[in-house]
Subunit: 181 residues, 2 copies
DNA sequence: GTCCACATGTAACTGGTTACATGATTGG
DNA sequence: CCAATCATGTAACCAGTTACATGTGGAC
């Protein structure tokens, strides 16, 4: 039940059409909750039917016509309720860890190349986050809202840092195993 | 397409019945790939139909009778193929980060209690991992298989460490905001 | 004999993914 | 006027979740 709330958040930050939302999900919000345009259109329809959002005036909403939405009071209330409600953390699910466990049984043939590739990808993501940090969060005092958003970005930075370190460590372990250490 | 491979790995480590697998998923493998018994039974059926596994002899497999499976050569080959194949890392999806982003818009009322609760949960998980590490991976030299499994466990430890640190930091940030800093 | 735990399963639903369809607008 | 791009959508599928069903064997 998170996608509708991700959309409500995005629309509160700025009323948008489906495609604009899709683009914004490819950027900031999508960094921790990704969504495709099909998901977004489907969800916008539901949210409108439930009375949480409404389409903005321009009433010629045929196919190919932009259709922008804004959040209604009921939508804001629902988002506030959801944000404050207790939720269980989801158990993690990571394919790479699973593959490593499998490699302990069927052999490590071929997995190293993909570990190296993932390391590059995570390094790239880390660089991107750090650029955003430098651009959007200068060290001066800032509003509480900014500090919350910075907190979220820092989680992304720390997570990518963890992955690059762990993958580096894993590759070193592989090398030392090949040397017969 | 990861659950079937998780099951193949578990069955290679030790042939098991559906319920035994379920219990083992609640422990070690489930730490990074959880599954319910319904998922497991469904998947066991598929894997058997595809010729990757087979039921062990005791042929009286009515309801209520234990039915154990072992991996066939085709299953091992498929697992080796999957392990070595390149895969894209899945974009992360974390509800707590999303909630924090939403809190920047609708207010932080009530979210702190759940941050504290999550901190406790992650601390507990971390303690559990560290216990497993102390029990199963003493500092002496070990087999390559052990080193791979230790690598996986260390990912879990480092991830839980990250979360406890980040949540601690987040709570401190909230406190300093309340003080009007 | 009845109840409970063990063990295997079915059915319905939800959320996410992939592939495709369709109309409108713009640049050449 | 044609192709590319913008913009909105439909349909089918797949994986994971929740609720429930059914049979067996042992404890009392």
């Amino acid at each position: 039940m998170s996608l509708p709330h991700a959309i409500l958040t995005a629309l509160l930050e700025k009323p948008s059409s489906g495609l604009e939302l899709t683009r914004r999900f490819d950027k900031s919000i999508g960094y921790f909750w990704s969504a495709t345009h099909q998901q977004i259109y489907r969800e916008l329809g539901k949210l409108e039917a439930e009375g949480y959002i409404r389409a903005l005036p321009p009433e010629l909403h045929a196919r190919g016509q932009k259709k922008s939405y804004e959040v209604l009071p009921a939508g804001r209330a629902e988002l506030a309720r959801w944000t404050a409600a207790a939720q269980e953390p989801k158990p993690m699910r990571d394919t790479m860890l699973l593959r490593l466990r499998a490699a302990a049984v069927v052999g490590t043939e071929g997995i190293q190349a993909d570990l190296r590739r993932h390391l590059d990808l995570h390094r790239g993501q880390l660089a991107e986050y750090e650029q955003i940090q430098a651009r959007d969060f200068p060290p001066e005092r800032s509003t509480p809202e900014d500090r919350l958003r910075h907190l979220v970005l820092r989680a992304g930075i720390d997570l990518e840092t963890f992955w690059t370190q762990w993958l580096t460590h894993a590759l070193a372990e592989f090398e030392s195993m090949e040397k017969g250490d």
